[in-house]
Symmetry: D2
């Protein structure tokens, strides 16, 4: 999409140099506002389901994070912009007090978008002062705040896409037509020997707590696909009755598919027999060579079973992909439940809630998507969503036993 400038990518050098830090901070913060630029104040206020949040809320919550985690602790003279915002823009931190109920974020016509932007400016000013004064000391928190904001940058796109799809007018986030994809090569696999491999994050750069500790796992030999499943391949599954044949499905997945009357990925629109796909550029004719996305873990697993393959575990994925270029076009669902690594230690204090408390009922996704800010992704990165989630940029990478 060309929305992530090279400048942002270069920012992740891991330096504590204050000048660079200030520039990093400014670049990440600017990108959020840039992502909201094509949208009206009304667009920024919509919440189309409890799992998604209004764009305005993302803009404010990421700001609240800096205010709470950095300014409140380290900037002794900082005056909060508005005390009510601690209630409105806390996401899920029980340790930081009560919160506005998540499903009601779309009711917040006030504060207005322009006031949220003023809030951002107020916090940015104080943050720049703080970075100038105490850069090295606050570095871990600063990096966390920036990576946190980058996570929300991807969510801004997933959430506005869902909001616009909920509007019968099917508006486009970005004008113009997407570039036609090139023909994809035949599906191929690379073989891996397995054995003892090192997984998890270690070293200097930033990582979330859930990526550690680094440790060794023992893998059996396996094969991993060199590319994602395409829309055309997925269509063959559909044409073969994939959504009507329980033998391919996990029990929970089949129940969900039946209850929700799934018969295609989210955003596929059946128009008199042909398929259109709703994109950030509006509805487009289905392109069979494009990577299939907006499938749940359940659908990914059912597709794999139908195709005679399986999904990789997160450790197979990490061992195979290793230091190769990331992000991918879509996040890869893995066959791994989101459990803690052996010896896992959450962040301290209220930030302990950042990742650890969600280690139940979710599946791991790996690799990043086109919408992931480039400096944000790592081979050890563990994204996670419930197995039924479909509004993320999530796709399918096959694995097999040799």
């Amino acid at each position: 999409m060309g929305m992530y400038a090279a400048a942002v990518a270069e920012r992740q050098a891991g330096t504590a140099d204050e000048g660079a830090l200030e520039a990093d901070y400014a670049a990440v913060r600017a990108l959020s506002v840039e992502l909201a630029a094509p949208l009206s104040a009304e667009d920024c206020a919509v919440q189309s389901m409890p799992d998604a949040s209004p764009i305005k809320w993302h803009l404010a919550h990421t700001t609240w994070f800096f205010e709470t985690v950095l300014l409140a602790r380290f900037a002794t003279d900082y005056v909060p912009y508005d005390p009510a915002f601690a209630y409105l823009f806390n996401s899920y931190y029980e340790g930081l007090g009560p919160r506005h109920p998540r499903p009601q974020r779309g009711l917040l016509s006030r504060p207005a978008l322009k006031e949220v932007l003023a809030y951002r400016a107020h916090v940015d000013q104080a943050m720049q002062r703080l970075i100038g004064a105490r850069g090295a000391e606050i570095l871990p928190f600063l990096r966390l705040g920036l990576h946190h904001e980058q996570q929300h940058q991807e969510l801004m796109l997933t959430d506005i896409k869902h909001a616009f799809f909920s509007n019968p007018l099917l508006p486009a986030y970005a004008p113009g037509k997407p570039v036609p994809t090139e023909p994809v090569p035949a599906m191929a696999f690379t073989a891996h020997d397995g054995g003892i491999v090192q997984v998890g994050h270690q070293g200097e750069g930033f990582a979330f707590d859930n990526e550690g500790p680094a440790h060794q796992v023992l893998l059996r030999p396996f094969c991993l696909a060199t590319r994602n499943v395409t829309c055309g391949e997925y269509l063959a599954f559909m044409d073969d009755g994939g959504y009507r044949r329980p033998e391919f499905w996990l029990s929970d997945g089949w129940a969900m598919a039946q209850a929700s009357a799934w018969d295609a990925p989210l955003y596929w629109i059946n128009t008199s027999g042909a398929w259109d796909v709703f994109t950030l550029n509006g509805p487009q004719r289905l392109d069979c060579d494009q990577v299939v996305t907006h499938v749940s873990f359940y659908e990914a697993a059912a597709y794999a079973a139908w195709a005679g393959f399986r999904l990789p575990t997160e450790f197979e994925w990490e061992a195979a992909v290793g230091e190769r270029a990331v992000p991918g076009q879509v996040w890869d669902w893995t066959r791994s439940s989101y459990d803690p690594y052996p010896g896992y230690q959450p962040f301290d204090g209220a930030l302990a809630e950042y990742n650890g408390k969600f280690m139940s009922g979710q599946m791991v996704l790996r690799g990043g998507s086109f919408a992931t800010p480039p400096g944000h992704i790592r081979a050890t990165y563990r994204n996670f969503f419930p197995p039924s989630a479909r509004w993320q940029f999530s796709g399918i990478r096959l694995a097999a036993n040799p």
Copy 2:
């Protein structure tokens, strides 16, 4: 509130004179926009519950009504502003095709508020031409369209009030403090002899189909309170355990009160033991002399039982109030289910759905409120809402057997 100019009130003379009709049309249509004036585009997009609608939707739906009921039929050269609007802004007319689901009206960030205003201007221009050309012929439909819009004018206030109450910032629709109420006189009743009385609408002026046919009913002698129950009186019911004593409640009402944990009227806020009340002017200290409002039929009936009285039937109300000045401060819940009058005939065609299909599961309210446009109310007017509804300007008027 001073929001309804005297000019509007005078409009209802029932004339078919085109000049007056054009002025009537312009005045009613202008008031809707005027009611939205204190609100931002974001405010106008919020839907706080399925029963309420966004202000923007009210502005568009009332316009769609003129477009569909008048322009599409009588203005042969009329070009619809946007064909998609027939889907977006049809409220509940099965006969006019499928509709955008009611609970999702708040997701419509597009069309933007300014586009809805352009839609209004487009339709207004065509309507003024149509009135000029065919005033007499279209008069019944024109009047219906104007009264329909007036109904929505009151709903705009009930709905924005609910939306703002759903926002923890509790914003005010109108600045300033409400005028303090004067001390109320002691509760008094007027006696009525009953006998055969005429009810229902007849004569020249406009009335909805549900007000007819006029017919005779036989009433027993009864007494009707000369004023509504006040907040102070209602507080005595609460202090006497009114919300915890099932003996005063209808079975459905008790179940609802328990399930929803009702312990006061909607919009009452318990602040460290004292009561505030959320109003269109924002939160205000409870004024015991003010009329209690935002109670459900269930609460009204429970209060009446506790007080040793009952609610009036709609015919007692109509016989007693007769030609007295209306509207009142709040709508009076009656003890009458919303059933059809003997010989009831709905409007023709798609408009048959206007009132008739709702004659099940609802209770009749009478008399109008401070928010009812003055020319809109009549002694025969039958408003109706489910017995659990609390977001309307609904209050309590007591009755008794002699």
Copy 3:
């Protein structure tokens, strides 16, 4: 069904003679046990939905009623059979303390059926003593207890029918085939002049509180069908798309029909294009000449609208049917909401909850069904159920304006 012996019918002479009272008591109580006779203990324990109750519960609750309303008050030396039964078998009397939740009545494998029968014997013995000692004094309560039990006798049949329909084996309550119906005469109407008519109960015999006070109402001339709508006539409505055409339906009814995928009366079974009907004798081929039953008020109203007629009000029904033979084959849904009569006074004390608190959200049915014990019905009798209820023996009688 031949299940109500002539002896029972004669019992309702309204005498206070103790010998007759004892016989009345014994006859009514015996009939309940007789109704349960074709059923196993397992059959008697099933609750197929929250609205229905297990047969065993009916047998116990009616006994609890005598224990609570009569023995506990008037039989000073009476020892309750089991103190826990006050909790288990109180139906809905808030004034008599907490109750076992209604939807969980089917979980009561204990007390066993045979223990409930022992409970009945214990109470019956004490009741016979009480009647012998204080017959005249307790007469109003005794009569209420007997009529209360008769209400439950009809419910025992409606509830076991629903329970057996919930079992894929579709067992029959009674063996054998129903007697073939005779050909029905053409639909005919009798005209009534209207005017002032007396309605409601007065005089010596027993009546429920909701049938009074007797009062006068003013009716317009009307016509009432001389028989109920048949299955064949209803089938014509279905074949004409009755369940797919919203123009005939009340709004709530249409929503219910859509949500519940109604396409025929309850208990109609589509077997390869033909219709069977589940009866107390098990599934039977549809008999077009039989009276249609197990329709909701919503379906009754939709049918009437489709047929170009309407349903009668409860007062039209009462004025027209008057002292004619009751009960009918099915209960007639009326177009009257279940509201209190002018001057309505509930029973005293806890019995105030018997009828009054249900006067909201329900429609009146008149006339009784084949399953109503003969001495139990009156021309003034007001039965009531929610408009969506279908498991009662409820049918359609048409009315019209002249």
Copy 4:
């Protein structure tokens, strides 16, 4: 409980000798009937929640399993007892056709308990003939059928316990008082070196598909508690606000605990400040030395966090417990999601649904409980339930990092 005779335990020798097989079959089948012996037909019909099944259903379903998996395939002349039973008693096999809805199993008053027992006798006779004729050939299916029935034997106890707890009379399944527990030793841990360990089932004996293939995993050093957490220890967690402090809880667990108002394990009854516990012997005073049970995974994990420990992974559990005596007193919740082992292959055909399709959204439990038939458990056995399940005999075993 003395309910599992030594004879049953010896049955699991893995021989294909027909005489022994016939005895094995008879012993397992007899135990199911023996478990139902203290119950009335009414008791056997109750279903207290969708997750639980009536005892009668368990008795019939296990019989259907033999009928379908063995007789229908291998006994060429076998005549099914009743063709309708394939619909009534199929549990969840999509491949074997439609099923009676799980939440409605409690509505099946027919077939009667005595008919289900006749069904068992019919199938047992045919099975004994089949074993005599083709013992070796059918051995894998026979063993599966027996282990399947043993799984249901434990469920019969968990389900009747839940059913009786749903009855306000709190009946006892077994008369008499439980033997007082001996004082427990202080909590102690054994250290394990970790490293590469072999897990999963291999060799001759029976195992479910989900226990294989055997494979190696790499473990870090860890410590495992030598006994389960007691009620007294759990009470300390409760007294320290364990149910009110979100910092110990997983996010889903906290949401569940709040929504369900959990404040103690299932079956704990607060009686005027003291705790009783509902057991198969009826309510008993809380015994602090007894092992805590009927906690969900969420509660187990919260307790462990509060205590400064964690739960073991299923591989730590298996490595540490190894060949030690099983079953335990309660099942141990592990910190492992129920994912497939590398190279997992489900059973063939319809039996593929036995385990594989449930590998999503569940947690692994290990070790067995007092109610697990002795020959049924293995060190490699993987039981699984949703993290919110509390009606199983599930407890807490702590683990720690060295």
